[in-house]
C-alpha cells in the first residue's frame, strides 16, 4: 500500500505542480507514505500478528478502491510519469539508475543504523516479551509505531522510484494486494537475517518470475508458488539461513 501511495504521490506532484526532479520525487514519496503510516499507525499499533496483517490488508484494499475509482488519477488506467530531471536536466536511463542506486545505498545505511540502535533492538525485545519492555519504561505501542512509519517511508520511497523508472503508475500493479503479496514473498524467500538478503531476494524473484513467465505463460504463478513451498519446506529461515548453514558446514569441514 505504501509502495503504491509513494508512487501516486509522485504522479500527483507531477500533475499538479509539474514536479519531476528526482530528489523531490523521492522525498515526496517518502514523506507522503510516512505521513499515511503515521496516521494509520495509531490504529494498527494496537494489533498484533494476524490481526495486524488483516487490518493492513483492509486499508490497502480501501486505497485500491479509491484509486481505481478516482477519475482525476486515471482510474484503473493510472497515469504516465514523465522522465525524471535533476536541476532541470533530463536524466537518461543510466542517470536514473545511478540515482536509484544512490537512494538504495542511503536506505541500506539508514536501515542498518536503525537496526543497530537501541530502538532497533526493541523489535526483537518486543517479540520476545512486551511486558518487560513496558516495565523498562518504554511504550511498546510507540516503538511499533516508529518502526511502522520507518517501514512506510522505505516502501513509499521504493514506490516513488518504481514510478520514476517505469514511467507509469496504476492501481493494479502498485496497490493491489497481490503486490503486497510479492513483497511478502521476497521477504520469506530471502529471510530476515540481513539487510542485503531482501535485495538479493528481490533480484532472484524478478529472475524467477521472468523465466517462469517465458516457460509457462499460463501457469507461471504455479512455478512461483512451488518455489515458495520448496523454500518453506527446505529452508524455513529463507535463503539467507541456507547460506548461513552452508557457511557453517564449510567452517566445520575446514576445522
Amino acid at each position: 500500500m505504501y509502495y503504491g501511495f509513494g508512487a501516486y504521490a509522485v504522479a500527483m506532484c507531477q500533475k499538479y505542480f509539474g514536479m519531476t526532479d528526482i530528489f523531490l520525487r523521492f522525498f515526496i514519496a517518502v514523506a507522503a507514505a510516512g505521513l499515511l503510516g503515521f496516521a494509520l499507525g495509531f490504529i494498527l499499533r494496537r494489533y498484533r500478528e494476524i490481526f495486524f496483517a488483516m487490518l493492513s490488508l483492509a486499508f490497502s484494499m480501501v486505497l485500491y478502491g479509491l484509486l481505481a475509482k478516482a477519475e482525476f488519477l486515471g482510474s484503473t488506467d493510472g497515469m504516465s510519469i514523465s522522465p525524471s530531471t535533476i536541476l532541470g536536466y533530463e536524466l537518461g536511463r543510466f542517470g536514473l539508475l545511478y540515482f536509484i542506486c544512490f537512494f538504495v545505498i542511503c536506505a541500506i545505511v539508514f536501515a542498518q543504523a536503525y537496526l543497530r540502535s537501541s530502538l532497533g533492538h526493541l523489535t526483537t525485545a518486543i517479540s520476545d516479551n512486551e511486558i518487560r519492555v513496558e516495565y523498562l519504561g518504554y511504550s511498546v505501542e510507540k516503538a511499533i509505531h516508529i518502526k511502522y512509519v520507518i517501514s512506510a517511508c522505505l516502501a513509499g520511497g521504493a514506490g516513488g522510484l518504481m514510478a520514476a523508472s517505469l514511467g507509469q503508475v496504476d492501481p493494479d500493479s502498485m496497490v493491489l494486494w497481490s503486490v503486497s503479496g510479492e513483497l511478502v514473498f521476497v521477504t520469506i524467500m530471502s529471510g530476515l537475517g540481513n539487510i542485503l538478503a531482501p535485495f538479493m531476494g528481490a533480484v532472484l524473484f524478478e529472475f524467477i518470475r521472468t523465466y517462469a513467465f517465458e516457460l509457462a505463460p499460463q501457469a507461471w504463478q504455479m512455478i512461483i508458488g512451488g518455489t515458495l513451498l520448496a523454500i518453506i519446506f527446505f529452508s524455513p529461515g529463507g535463503l539467507w539461513s541456507f547460506f548461513q548453514k552452508l557457511n557453517f558446514l564449510r567452517k566445520k569441514n575446514n576445522d
Partner: protein, 249 residues
C-alpha cells in the same frame, strides 16, 4: 503527619468479577526498609505487587508514592518514577544474550528521545552493564542466550534488569522460587547486599521463612486478600494467625 512514607496504600481493594483478591490493604513503607511479603498460594501477594507497579488497576483505594497519588498508573510510568519490579516468572528477552538484555534495559533507563537511535553498543553503557553483571554474578554468562540459562540465572538477570534505573522502591515477586536450595541464599545475599548499598527500599515475596528471617526488617503476611500481620520477623513468625494461615502447621 508525624512520619514520611515512601510508599503508602489506603483501603486498597481489587476484585475480579466478584472474587476479591485484595481487600482493605493499608500499608506504609519507610524509605530503605526491607520488607518480606508472605502468604500461601493465592493469598493475593502478586496482585498486591501488580497493583503497586501498575499492571493491575485497583478497584478502589489509593496508592501514594512520596506523597504523590499514583493509583492506576501505567507500568512504564511506575518505572519512570522509580517504582520497579521483578517477576514471579522471569520476564526477560529469551532469544537474546544476557548482555543484550541488560544493555537494552540500561539504554532505556539512561537514554531518551533521539538518543535511542544511537547504536545500542555504547562503550560507556557497556562498562556499566559489566559492573552490574559482575555484581549479580552473571558476568561469565554474558554472551549466552537467555533460554539456555538456569532458572536462578534468569531470576538474577530479571532482577538486574529492574535495578539498572536505580529505583527508589523495588518489588521482587518470589525472587527465589524455582531456584535450587543451594542457589537460594547465594542469590539473596547478592541481591540484598547490592540493594542495601544503594539504599533502595525493597519489598519481596518469599515462601522460605529462613530467608525471610535472615534478610528482612519487617514481615507483611497475606491471607485471602487481606493483611493478617504486619510486624518485625521475630514477632510475625510467632503470630498465631501467621502460623495457622501461612506456615500451615
Amino acid at each position: 503527619m508525624t512520619e514520611k512514607f515512601i510508599l503508602k496504600t489506603t483501603e486498597l481493594q481489587k476484585s475480579f468479577s466478584g472474587i476479591i483478591a485484595a481487600e482493605d490493604i493499608n500499608i506504609s513503607v519507610k524509605e530503605g526498609e526491607i520488607i518480606g511479603i508472605i502468604g500461601a498460594n493465592g493469598a493475593g501477594k502478586t496482585v498486591f505487587v501488580n497493583m503497586i507497579t501498575g499492571y493491575l488497576k485497583p478497584s478502589s483505594g489509593k496508592i501514594e508514592f512520596m506523597g504523590r497519588d499514583i493509583t492506576g498508573i501505567k507500568p512504564r510510568e511506575a518505572t519512570h518514577i522509580g517504582v520497579c519490579r521483578s517477576f514471579q516468572v522471569s520476564q526477560v528477552f529469551m532469544t537474546m544474550t544476557v548482555k543484550e538484555n541488560l544493555m537494552i534495559a540500561m539504554s532505556l533507563a539512561k537514554k531518551s528521545g533521539l538518543e535511542l537511535l544511537l547504536p545500542l553498543d555504547d562503550e560507556k553503557l557497556s562498562k556499566e552493564c559489566d559492573k552490574i553483571l559482575d555484581l549479580y554474578k552473571i558476568k561469565n554468562q554474558s554472551n549466552l542466550i537467555v533460554s539456555t540459562l538456569s532458572q536462578g540465572m534468569r531470576k538474577l538477570l530479571d532482577i538486574s534488569m529492574a535495578v539498572v534505573g536505580n529505583p527508589n522502591v523495588l518489588l521482587l515477586d518470589e525472587p527465589t522460587s524455582g531456584v535450587s536450595v543451594e542457589e537460594k541464599f547465594g542469590i539473596m545475599d547478592i541481591v540484598i547486599s547490592a540493594l542495601k548499598k544503594s539504599g533502595t527500599t525493597v519489598l519481596f515475596v518469599e515462601h522460605d521463612m529462613e530467608i525471610v528471617e535472615r534478610y528482612v526488617d519487617r514481615v507483611i503476611a497475606f491471607y485471602q486478600g487481606q493483611v493478617i500481620c504486619d510486624a518485625p520477623p521475630s514477632k510475625a513468625l510467632k503470630d498465631k494467625k501467621v502460623i495457622k494461615y501461612v506456615l500451615g502447621s
